[in-house]
């Protein structure tokens, strides 16, 4: 019943809306592939090797990606342009497609990381890969959702799969704990989100984002308390997904305990989907209420930046540290988001794309270094990495400098565009706070650099342990992830033009 729009409720007979199947092709391919894999694997007499599942997942994501390319061409064509389907519930525009591309690329890279990780951890079976694909299809749904109900569907598909992924490492209690925490807090956030949607429906009489926008633009509400309560609850629900302060408490625990490749997935794809939903709802439906929500985002952004960067400094567990760092990055994205302008959306898209590669690469390094330490490396595990593994250390340096926003990496341009959007919107205070916290955050990346490059290995470290660490092999698929992410971060860090143009063509149009 969720796919009925308001018009059909009032119609005398129920007619099903037209569906442009082509528009849903990327989604269908991914969903279909995951269910097919599950079926085949349950029929198959014995477990297939993990690498097979990984290749299968990668190919499915690639097929889905290829099927989205004609849509991109069509959307960019001036005569045909963006369109929506399923009675306006799902739109296909540049923005939804670019987020789709991003999610699919991260699926490919995460699949590469996962196959390696799962072999090391002795986890067999197709479930992780099925869940990654399902979660990604939820994310794609969110990116295109132009109805609150569709959005909620997307979020639940994305999240429930992600909860299970967090708890995937059955042998480790931290993973179980992470999954449990993520699930309970996530369910709580979903509750807020759904309640908020109900209130918005009550205030505006529709769940369609277009209808809400038109209603709010044409009608002056005498009492908008209901609507404002709805907006804030939706903000809480989505704020949880993208981990803004004060809805971030799950992040460090979940990132620390979850299997590393799935953390990479959460930090790249899940975050991107969450921000896509935020943009859809707030830029689309509530554009006329900018004066109400912008100050709130302003405050959230500063809190997120400050808490994220300060808390990151005191961490010793690297995954926990990267969790706080990802919180502070969410803060930067909010800085761009807060501007409420076209340039704001462009800066957010650019940030999401570039950050995804940096964070995927970072977690790839973390999973290599932490390989024999239960996948949970501490800062000390990075000591003297440049002596043992100069190239790995160099690649990690690129990601860290990128996250610190040093020029000639994509991270610098990401910050640049975000700050530029904020300044154009006259949010000078926010821009300055963002740059000051960037310096604080830089300290934490420097801490890792110091460990890697300027510290020899400690004497207390038993030699056998050292030798063991020195001999962890880097499999080809992980090398591939490092090559792609590192190359992306460096090349587009010098020449960001193509990515900017891509983001520029990808404005959300309902």
């Amino acid at each position: 019943m969720s796919s009925f729009s308001t018009e059909t409720i009032f119609a005398s007979t129920i007619t099903t809306p037209d569906i442009a199947w082509v528009a849903l092709l990327p989604l269908l391919i991914l969903c279909g592939a995951s269910i097919f894999l599950l079926t085949v694997a349950s029929i198959a007499p014995k477990d297939l090797p993990s690498s097979f599942y990984a290749v299968y997942t990668g190919l499915a994501a690639l097929a889905s990606l290829i099927s989205a390319i004609p849509l991109w061409v069509r959307v960019q064509d001036n005569e045909r342009g963006p369109f929506s389907t399923i009675a306006g519930g799902f739109s296909v525009d540049g923005f939804s497609l670019i987020i789709t591309f991003l999610i699919l690329v991260s699926v490919v890279l995460v699949a590469c990381l996962a196959s390696e990780y799962l072999i090391n951890e002795g986890i067999s079976g197709p479930e992780p890969f099925v869940l990654i694909m399902l979660s990604a299809s939820g994310g794609i749904t969110m990116a295109g959702a132009s109805d609150l109900i569709v959005l909620f569907l997307g979020i639940e598909v994305l999240s429930i799969a992600a909860y299970v992924l967090a708890a995937m490492d059955m042998r480790r209690v931290q993973s179980q704990e992470a999954g449990m925490k993520y699930f309970i807090l996530g369910a709580f956030a979903s509750g807020f989100l759904l309640y908020g949607m109900a209130l918005i429906y009550g205030a505006t009489g529709s769940t369609s984002l277009v209808a809400i926008r038109d209603f709010l633009e044409s009608t002056e509400l005498t009492n908008d308390a209901l609507l404002l309560a709805g907006i804030s609850m939706v903000l809480i629900g989505l704020g949880f997904k993208v981990a803004t302060v004060p809805f971030h408490f799950w992040t460090p625990d979940v990132y620390q305990g979850s299997p590393t490749p799935f953390v990479a997935f959460m930090a790249s794809a899940v975050k991107a989907a969450g921000f896509a939903a935020l943009i859809r709802v707030f830029y689309g439906a509530f554009a006329s209420y900018q004066t109400d929500w912008k100050p709130i985002i302003y405050g959230l952004a500063i809190a997120t930046l400050v808490v994220g960067s300060f808390m990151a400094i005191v961490q010793t567990d690297v995954k926990r540290l990267l969790a706080y760092s990802s919180i502070s990055h969410a803060g930067y994205i909010l800085v761009g988001f807060q501007s409420g302008s076209e340039n704001g959306v462009i800066s957010v898209s650019f940030y999401l794309i570039t950050y995804a590669f940096m964070v995927l690469g970072s977690f790839a390094v973390v999973s290599i270094v932490g390989g024999l330490n239960g996948g949970q490396p501490t800062l000390d595990d990075f000591e003297g990495l440049s002596n043992r593994r100069p190239i790995l250390a160099a690649v990690f340096t690129i990601f860290l400098l990128g996250q610190a926003g040093i020029p000639l990496t994509t991270g610098f341009f990401a910050k640049f565009y975000v700050i530029e959007a904020a300044i154009e919107a006259r949010s000078y205070g926010l821009a300055i706070s963002a740059m000051v916290t960037a310096v604080i955050a830089a300290f934490l990346y420097l801490k890792i650099l110091v460990k890697m490059w300027m510290t020899g290995e400690t004497e207390s470290d038993p030699i056998s342990n050292r030798q063991a660490r020195a001999n962890i092999p880097i499999r080809i698929q992980v090398g591939f992830v490092l090559l792609i992410s590192g190359g992306f971060t460096l090349i587009f860090g010098i020449w960001p033009h193509p990515i900017v143009e891509l983001a520029r063509d990808a404005l959300p149009i309902l």
């Binding site: 020029p407 640049f416 300044i423 420097l446 110091v450 300027m454 033009h497 900017v500």
Partner: protein
Amino acid sequence: MGSTFFASSLASTEPSFPTIPALVILPIIGAFAVALTPSARSGLHKLVATLFSGMVGAISIWILTAFETNSDFQFISQATWIKSLGIQWFAGIDGISLFLVVLTGLLFPLAIVAINPSHNHKAYYIWLLILQSGCMGAFVALDLFMFFVFFEIVLIPMYFLIGKWGHGNAKYAATKFFLFTMLGSAIMLVSIIALASLHSRDAGSDITFNLLEIAGNPAISTATGRILFLGFALAFAVKVPLFPVHTWLPDAHTEAPTAGSVILAGVMLKLGTYGFIRFGLFLFPEASHFFAPVFLTLGVIGILYGAVVATMQSDLKRLVAYSSIAHLGFIILGTFALNTQGIQGATVQMINHGISTGALFLLVGIIYERKHTREIAELGGIQKSAPILAGAFTIVMLSSIGLPGLNGFVGEFLILLGAFTAHRWWAVVAAVGVVLAALYLLWAYQRVFHGPEESAEDQTKDLTPWERLILLPLIVAIVYLGVYPKPMLNRIEPAVDRLVAHVEEHVEGGAFREPTPTVGTRSSFADLVEDSHNHGGHHESDDHHDKGGHQ
């Protein structure tokens, strides 16, 4: 004046050889070349690094000869970088940046040849080459964005050079250096974007980061300009470093490897003072004038504070580091005198400080290599066993003190002259700093080189022929620029004149030219400029005269 003025300043012919791209890119190619040489052959690394940074040095000397003495930007190189934001690769050299480019071109190969790293040769040379490219890029950039990129990127190589090859508490020093500088540049980035965005709005043009276009068509309001200026000034003040944001410098200098100190003092600190002149004064003439008393005061505090603290240092390298703070205070004093002599003096002093402090750090490094200590109390009597070392140290030290006939004098004299014309009392107080410089350097010399003779088994080895050869160009430059600074001053002057005229044009009344009566109109102002030229001429000849007397 206005934009047409600046358009004409670009009119010089573009040479067919891409000079500036070569300056910036050659070291990067060199870095790749070093990276590709086999790790075991450390001699080869040094050779390749010397070769590439030497080529840059050769090009910079060629630039010196091909440079035409006028106020134009020359060797212009321009290309679109990011079209949607109007960001360009836009570079050129004028009289102000010319000698800094040459200094960067020559000091790096010298530092590479002179000092062998303690370990990990390959990475060391890669970072040095990247650093050269970064410094070069910052000195030639005429696009705000491009400047920022280079200004910020130099942090990385220097961070690794200090942290990985430094002594003592190197990690702490490197991190402190990085964070201090990054804080400054973070605020500057906000200012740059705000300036470009507000300028495009108020001037009704497309967004641009082109320095000449923004400066030539000032559209932002006075109040905004002042705030934005402070954003730029913070970044430059940290880099210079000005009191009270100088605390990173003694640590960084003391812990850095010798080549790091040489480059840091010789080239990188100039990014701050150069930034003030090129960007602070040029983009925000009104704000520079408005805040001039603040910076003059900070400059004078730096001079006195640096001198007093240097006197009390027990570590020879730290002493030189604090003397840098004092010298850079002079440069700031000259810059914010906002007249031709002052800025010209500041530009000259940047070069002089680069040469003499670079040489001082080299000598301190040589002493440390021989004695394994930098504690002044543990040194002594070196002169007897190493007379040539002592002689070289004397010349360099006297240049640093500002002895007439050596290069340091020219800059300090012009600065004090400019400051005296504009702000008498600041100059009077600053002059005390000259005396203090003599005090702490001579006292240090006395303790290190004189005193009881060293015991027979503890003799200091004198300079090797190789070391002499390396120090020779620096000492020749010290003497040459001291005795005959005219060619250098001639090349610097037109650009400085243009800058001063630009500042005057945007400052109402020119009231800061005390003690000369206040003048309001442009025509009378032109006289003033003329007048100050004549002054400049006089003083220059005075200058020679003086030297004659002293020699």
